[in-house]
Each structure stands twice: as C-alpha cells, then as structure tokens.
C-alpha cells in the first residue's frame, strides 16, 4: 500500500475524514513555497498537492491561473518544484503529490520526470489533462516508478467508466464536485451530494476525495460526509495572495494565517 493510501486509510480508521491542501509551486515567489508547505503541514493537512505551473491550465479558474502566471513570472522551474518536494519530504512524513498538466512533464521527459519525482519523495501525481489508459506513457512510467496516479471522476462520468477509472487509479480517486473549473462557486450542494452517492459504489479499490469549490470548514464537513475527505485549493491560493499582497503583515504573520486557515478546515474533517 502506498503511503498516501495508507495515510487516508489511517484517518478513516480513526473515524475522521482526510484533508488535502493544494498550493502552486513557486507562488507567490520561490522563497515562499518551502515555508508554505511547512505551514500547511503544521495546520494539519493529511496530504499536500503541489501544483506544477503551466502557461495554459485549462481546468483552472482565475485564482489558480493567476497563481501559475505569478509563479512562472517568478521563474519557477520543474527542477525547483522537485527540489521543494524533496526538501519537504526530508522533514515530514505527510504525503506530497504533484498536480499539473501533461506538456511540462513531456518536455522534461516522461520517464525522467517520474524517476526524479520518486527520488524526490513524491507519492503521486494528479494530471487533469491526461486521461487514464494502461498504455499511456504517463501511466506506464508512473507505475514503473511506484508513483500513484490519482485519476478524476466528474458529474458527467457514467458508472461503468468510473469503475474503469477506479481500476487505473492509485492513491485515491479525485471526485470533481461540479462541472466547471477549480474555484467555481459550487452553488446548491444537494446535486453534488446526489452525484457523490451515485458515483461512490463504482469506486471500490480506492478512497474517494472530493474537490473544486470547497472553501470553508463547513464546506469540508458537508462534502466530506459523502466521501473519504475533501481537497481545498483556490481558497488557499486566494488567502496566500491576500496575505502576501498586504504590506502590513510580516512573513511569520502570513504563514500563521495560512496555518490557522488549514487548522480551521481540518476541524471540518473531525468526527
């Protein structure tokens, strides 16, 4: 069992739900990422998604788009991201996964990427524009290097496809809460609850985590109730933007804000 899967299972056995937190690598600048990862960890995240910035992130809403642009403007590279992952893994046993688009990985070299990701302590990847297929070079390389491939299901995914996705997924299965991009206002929760209940029986090999549009401890509690946990991204990115753009806050105050936000979200996962 991978350490990511084991972590979610451990939380589940304790009767709680898992909390995953997303932050963009190199955002708002290169020096921030190592400290942000530590603050998120200290706040109680059960795993962390580190975003590999891409110039054309077509599944992202405005907050994560802007964070990617800002990180790229700051000069972040794939090597930097892998280094942040390795440094974090050296000081924490909280699983870290990388989230990003196919092209930067292809450019880096697919096999080399998964080899380097593994040696940097990365537990899994989430690739929103790479569809699950056993003969995909991305999936082959991930499997060969023991990196989990976390696949997504969405409200438009039919049950038989969800079963195939579950079979090709490892670490967990990521349920996109709504048809939309990250940071979308999820609106009425009842249709999401109905969808999660509908899809859940198809996901038997993996834990099911829900994300997109989850902003508060209350959101986490209501969404996680139908799954094994929830993932928060855009809301954290917005908070980091606001803190870093506020000249009246010191660095430690900014990091304290982040840690306290994560701790509050985590409270929504406790039974």
């Amino acid at each position: 069992m991978s350490s990511l899967k084991a972590r979610i299972e451990q939380v589940r056995q304790a009767g709680h739900k898992a909390l995953g937190m997303f932050i963009t690598s190199g955002f708002p600048d290169l020096t921030a990422t190592p400290d942000l990862l530590k603050a998120i960890d200290a706040g109680g995240a059960d795993f962390i998604e580190l975003g590999m910035p891409f110039s054309d992130p077509l599944a992202e809403g405005i907050p994560i788009q802007r964070s990617s642009e800002r990180a790229l403007a700051a000069g972040v590279t794939m090597k930097d991201t892998l280094r942040f992952a390795a440094e974090f893994a050296a000081g924490s046993d909280t699983p870290l996964v990388l989230m990003g688009y196919g092209n930067p990985i292809m450019r880096y070299g697919i096999d080399k990427f998964f080899k380097d990701a593994r040696s940097s302590g990365v537990q899994g990847v989430i690739l929103p524009d790479v569809l699950p297929a056993p003969d995909s070079p991305f999936f082959r390389a991930a499997t060969e290097n023991g990196v989990d491939t976390i696949c997504l299901v969405s409200p438009t995914t039919p049950p038989e496809r969800a079963e195939r996705i579950d079979a090709l997924s490892s670490g967990f299965v990521y349920a996109v809460s709504v048809t939309g991009v990250t940071g979308t206002d999820k609106g009425d929760t009842q249709p999401i609850v109905d969808y999660l209940r509908r899809i859940r029986p198809s996901i038997v090999r993996n834990a099911l985590m829900v994300g997109f549009g989850i902003r508060s401890a209350e959101d986490v509690r209501s969404m996680a109730a139908e799954t094994d946990g929830a993932i928060v991204g855009s809301a954290l990115v917005n908070l980091v933007s606001a803190c870093w753009d506020n000249p009246d806050l010191s660095r430690s105050q900014r990091l304290a804000e982040v840690e306290s936000f994560v701790r509050d979200l985590k409270s929504g996962t406790l039974s």
Binding site: G102, M106, S154, T179
Partner: protein, 400 residues
C-alpha cells in the same frame, strides 16, 4: 461511400495521426467527446444530413466557389499556370463557414441549445455567429483582447449578428487564450453547450471532423480542374497554415496521389530568429488544447507567445494531422514573414484585382518564392482562403 467519408484512413479509432492527436482533456469532457464522435459518424452516413449540409453550402454559402485562372500572377511569377480557389467568395468572406455549417447541424442533431466558439482573426467567430443567427441559437464567441483591438470590424459583425463577444484577457490575449477560455466554458456548461472549434485542432474528433467539413474545397478543385484542364489533380497545391483548416481541406483529397506536391506556408512573423508563429518549422512535439502536436514552447514546456501580423495565423500550435504530414514528409512546410505577407497582399491585389486576407497573403508569398521551381505546363492551385477587407486597417498601417 458518402461524400464526407475520408479518403485517407487516419486518424485511428483513438484519434491519432501517427504519434499526434489524441484527447488530452479534463475528465468532464470525455462523455461529450464520445457523444460527438458517435453523432458525427452517424451523421456522415445519413443522406438527410448530407443533403442538408450540401444544400446550405450551395444556397447559403454560395458553393461551389470559383476556380479562377490567375493570368497576370502566372505571368509575373514565371512558373506554372496558377489557379486560385476562391474561398474568399464564400458567404462571410472565408472558408471558415463550411465547418461552422457542418458543426451547427450536428449541434442541432444532438439537441444542444447553446453555441460557443473561439476566434483569432474573427473569421471563425463571424462564421459561427452567422450560422447561429441563421438557426436562431445563442452564441458566445471568445476572442483575445488584443485581437478584439486589431479586428474591430469583425467584432462589430459578430455583435450585429447577435453574438456575445467575450474578451480573453489572460496570457497573450490572442487565439491561444481565447481557446483556453472557450474550453473552460465548455467544461462548465458541457450538458447544453456545443463547442464549434474553428480549426483542425483540439481533442479527437475535432481535427478529423473539421477537416471533413472542409474537404469540399479540395473536391471542388478536382471537379473544376477536370473541366478546365482535363485532369483532376494539379502538380502543386499551396495554402497558408495557422491551425491548418483551409490547407487540410484542400490537400486532403489529393494526399493519396504522391505526384501532387502540397505546400503549407506558416507565418514567420518578424523572422525565424525573432517573434514568429512557425510552429511546424521550429516547434517541438507538445500538448496544447487537447491534442499532441507540434508546439512553440520553451525548455520548461511553457507555451510560447506566437506572433504574426495576421491574427488568424498567430497561434503557437497546429493541427495534429499537419504534424503527421510533416513528419511523414507528405507535405512541405515553408514560412513567410510579416513583410513578405504584405508583399503578397500587394502582389495579388495588383495582378488579379483580388485583395486577399493577411492569412492568404502568406500562401501568396510562399508561392512567389517557389513558383519558378515549376514548369510552364504545370498546374498550381493556391487556396485563396479569405478576403482582405477585415485587414484593411492593418494593411494601411503597414504600408504607410
């Protein structure tokens, strides 16, 4: 075999032309793409759909378009006999409407009520707004903020036709970013929305479907050339390539005849050592907008900003079938700079009384360079993909 059925068997079932193509999209879109593939395959075989599509091409678009012998251009360039395939005479002023008609008929067949599109120069946006007006459907066109600025005339046309033009303000504020925004809209509204992609790009089945809706160009060339010259196949075909729809529409029916030399002309902007849009000439394989193809990108895999004086060619990607045709060597790809394109505009205007679109002007410039390689008895067909009215302000500024 129906008229829309492809003459070359690619893409394969999974949407690949060799190593290129495929579908690199969020999971949300997978059922929609499967549904679209199915609907298109069924429609192709349906005589009622064919009749409706070809009826509209005839009575609404004005097809077949003329094949015009370019007597003075032939004299000036001193090579083979040059014919112009007059897509500039299509309703709305460019070839783009062939595809817009085909896709909106599919949208109606699939029961979709809302149409979205991306546009660069505005020609595909105008074509989409036009067919939406014709069928009374809601239309939203995403357009880069910079393109809105340099293609004002087309923005006015789209609004007059009842479309909402939404500016894409991220990144380079051009076609690439308009396409990102359109995909995000589709991801959000996938259940009731049909995305009419304007070129042979995007995830499977779009590159093959858009191609098939444009092969009418090449087929008409065959018919007209047979009538005028006694043979269906010319010695050389020349077309501009941005995403590559007008080029593939003309080339495709001829690809199986290796004797027909096919030339695609990309935009090299300020020059290949400066800012350009010569994706096949200088790009590397990469993934953008749902497909694996050639791509202008940096060493980190970040997509580069393309540049061309022509908004329709200002795109860092290219259709995956062109990537395959380049790799296989079946099609040759050249490039022409902004300055050469401007010379092409003047050349065709002065010799033939036809003001071409800036996109088409690149093909003229490419042909001007290689016409001498042909013999006087050779037949050349240049795809005059659009008319230049929309570009008059840019042309006036460049020539002042």
């Amino acid at each position: 075999m129906s008229e829309l059925t492809s003459t070359v068997s690619l893409p394969d079932k999974r949407g690949y032309f060799g190593q290129f193509g495929g579908a690199f999209v969020p999971e949300i879109l997978v059922p929609a793409l499967e549904e679209l593939t199915e609907a298109f395959e069924t429609a192709k075989q349906d005589p009622a759909f064919q009749a409706c599509y070809h009826g509209l091409l005839r009575d609404y678009v004005g097809r077949p378009t003329a094949l015009t012998f370019a007597e003075r251009l032939t004299e000036r360039l001193g090579g083979g006999r040059i014919y112009l395939k007059r897509e500039d005479l299509c309703h709305t002023g460019a070839h783009k409407i062939n595809n817009a008609i085909g896709q909106i008929l599919l949208a109606r067949r699939m029961g979709k009520t809302r149409i979205i599109a991306e546009t660069g120069a505005g020609q595909h946006g105008v074509a989409t707004a036009t067919v939406c007006a014709r069928f009374g459907m809601e239309c939203i066109v995403y357009m880069g903020a910079e393109d809105i600025e340099r293609q004002q005339l087309n923005v006015h046309r789209m609004r007059l036709l009842g479309a909402e033009v939404r500016p894409a303000v991220s990144g380079s504020q051009t076609l690439k970013d308009a396409t990102n925004e359109a995909i995000r809209d589709w991801v959000t509204n996938v259940r009731d929305t049909f995305y009419i992609i304007g070129s042979v790009v995007g995830p499977h089945p779009y590159p093959a479907m858009v191609r098939d809706f444009h092969t009418v160009i090449g087929k008409e060339v065959q018919t007209a050339l047979k009538e005028k010259e006694g043979r269906t196949d010319p010695d050389m075909l020349v077309a501009c390539v941005g995403g590559g729809s007008n080029a593939i529409g003309m080339f495709h029916p001829f690809l199986k005849n290796e004797a027909v030399r096919c030339i695609g002309v990309e935009a090299s902007g300020e020059g290949l050592d400066g800012r350009h849009a010569a994706t096949l000439t200088l790009g590397e394989p990469g993934i953008l907008h749902g497909a694996l193809s050639y791509l202008l990108q940096d060493e980190e895999g970040q997509v580069s900003l393309a540049h061309s004086i022509s908004a329709g060619l200002d795109y860092p990607g290219v259709g995956p079938e062109h990537a395959w045709l380049k790799q296989s060597g079946r099609v040759e790809y050249l490039s022409a700079t902004d300055d050469e394109a401007m010379e092409g505009v003047q050349l065709l205007s002065e010799t033939e009384g036809i003001i071409p679109a800036l996109e088409t002007a690149h093909a003229v410039a490419g042909l001007a360079r290689i016409a001498k390689e042909t013999a006087p008895q050779d037949l050349i067909v240049l795809n005059c993909s659009g008319r230049g009215d929309k570009d008059m302000q840019t042309i006036a500024e460049a020539l002042s």
